[in-house]
């Protein structure tokens, strides 16, 4: 990891209006949770529904996409990555630095708001807030790794990422149970389920994969995508205007 690469990435990622985009979704999440608490009181079932479908199912993957793909994609598109690539730096170190920034951003704008949302809706009941915050963090880590890789290998990372999140995880996953096995959201939910403990089943919190499977698949996707992104960056073709 390189601190200068991380600083430049953070300036680009949080610069101008992009930071407003990053703050929009957590703002909506917190407002929604506040409204739910006011209207429905402390209802665990409603809390699990909102945290599973909106926080873990929508906010985390979309912010993972913005932060992950946004940490390197625009630099590849406009050619400014040449200033990093023309240095005696390991390409893996560039990817690690960018991933670290993206994960830090997603932690701040997705995992922490998820924790707050859980507290707002159900306090400390059944460790829901902590469980979903940890789930949001690991999901954010996996989404960022996947979307950094997508941004390195394709100029259409955002479109491909949206197709994965909206079509595969949300649409196909809701109709085809088997599809949920290949869903970062479900892997993270398995960790949330573990943190919540034995009361998870009675509260209606269940994931499509076991805890062990979820951890292994998350590790495979994070390590695999990060390594492959570095390897592909070594072979990245930078061409001029010709």
């Amino acid at each position: 990891m390189n601190a200068i690469v991380a600083q430049l990435t953070a300036r680009s990622l949080l610069g101008r209006r992009r930071v407003l985009l990053l703050l929009l979704l957590p703002g909506v999440l917190l407002l929604l949770c506040g409204a739910v608490r006011l209207l429905a009181g402390s209802d665990t079932t409603v809390s699990i529904g909102v945290l599973s479908s909106f926080a873990l199912g929508t906010v985390v993957p979309l912010l993972g996409l913005i932060a992950g793909a946004g940490s390197i994609g625009p630099e590849i598109d406009d050619g400014s990555i040449v200033y990093l690539m023309s240095k005696p730096l390991s390409r893996h170190s560039i990817v690690h630095s960018k991933l670290a920034v993206a994960v830090a951003v997603v932690t701040v704008v997705a995992a922490v708001p998820t924790l707050l949302a859980g507290f707002v809706m159900s306090g400390t009941e059944a460790s829901l807030a902590v469980g979903y915050a940890i789930g949001a963090f690991v999901a954010g880590l996996a989404y960022c790794a996947l979307f950094v890789l997508l941004a390195v290998i394709t100029r259409n990372a955002v479109v491909v990422g949206l197709i994965y999140v909206l079509i595969w995880e949300s649409l196909v996953g809701s109709f085809v149970p088997g599809a949920q096995v290949l869903s970062i959201q479900q892997w993270a939910l398995a960790i949330t389920e573990k943190v919540v403990g034995s009361s998870a089943g009675t509260l209606g919190l269940s994931s499509a994969v076991s805890f062990g499977t979820g951890v292994v698949l998350l590790a495979v996707i994070v390590i695999g995508c990060t390594w492959y992104a570095g390897a592909r960056l070594r072979k990245l073709r930078l061409t001029g205007n010709e």
């Binding site: 680009s12 598109d77 040449v82 200033y83 690539m85 073709r237 001029g240």
Partner: protein, 317 residues
Amino acid sequence: MILDNVSRWFGNVVAVNDVTMSVGPGVTGLLGPNGAGKSTVINMMAGFLAPSAGTVTLDDEVVWRNEEIYRRIGLVPEREGMYDTVSAWQFVLANAKLHRLPDSEAAAQKALNTVQMSDVKDRDIATFSKGMKQRIKIATALVHDPQVLLLDEPFNGMDPRQRIQLMDLLHTMGDGGRTILFSSHILEEVEQIAGNIQVLVAGRHAASGDFRDIRRLMTERPHQYWIRSDNDRALASAIIAEQSASSVELVADSRGGSGYSTTGARDTTAALHVEATDVSRFVRVLPQLAARHGIRLYEVSPADESLESVFSYLVTR
């Protein structure tokens, strides 16, 4: 830096075709019309593009996928993209730190001084003109004092004063023993600063060597002219008799301009197409011939003075 039988193709398109050249200390100009493959060659020399065939080496080290080579290479890319949310100082300093220089701040300050941007170093790059951005790009390439400096169309967007400054800088660096290679499609730019030139045309290495030799090749080539007069046939006979042209052709003017017939009446199609073998003699003799035969010349214009035609001629040599 040596390119050994280097080719690069993109799908079915051959961008660079079997180029062999070596670039040594001093200033070398990479000259060629737009689309000739200059940027592709520079990207391969900078290690950002793998040759489809052949090798690119610096001091016998292959540059492709060799990150350590950037301790010795500085690159000024053609593309405009930069981290423009930071100030010039922050950006150049970041580049120095990425090279892990022992005194990054001093190196960044020296690079900014060299490109005369110290006065505005605290401004965001986003607020700079194209020429100012170009100078910041050069500062980032110079910050680690590289042995080899590659510049892709460095004069684009610069005003005349900035061009002169950059030319002086490249001169000084070249005289100091560094290897400088810059690409350009403008003959005069190359002529002013490059002792050596490499000419690329349509992906092929058309010529290389001392600029004066190349210039002589260019000027000694057969020159073609369009000529309009009030008596093209008589003028054609006179030119042939004078033996200063290898061919004279009375043709319809493909440019669609106006002309005059042998009777003096306006003719919208006729013109003489002349290929002169000895240019200096031809341009001296032509008005004398016209005067001697009482022919009025309406127009004498070069038919092949475009850069592409000059390059094309070099390719056929």
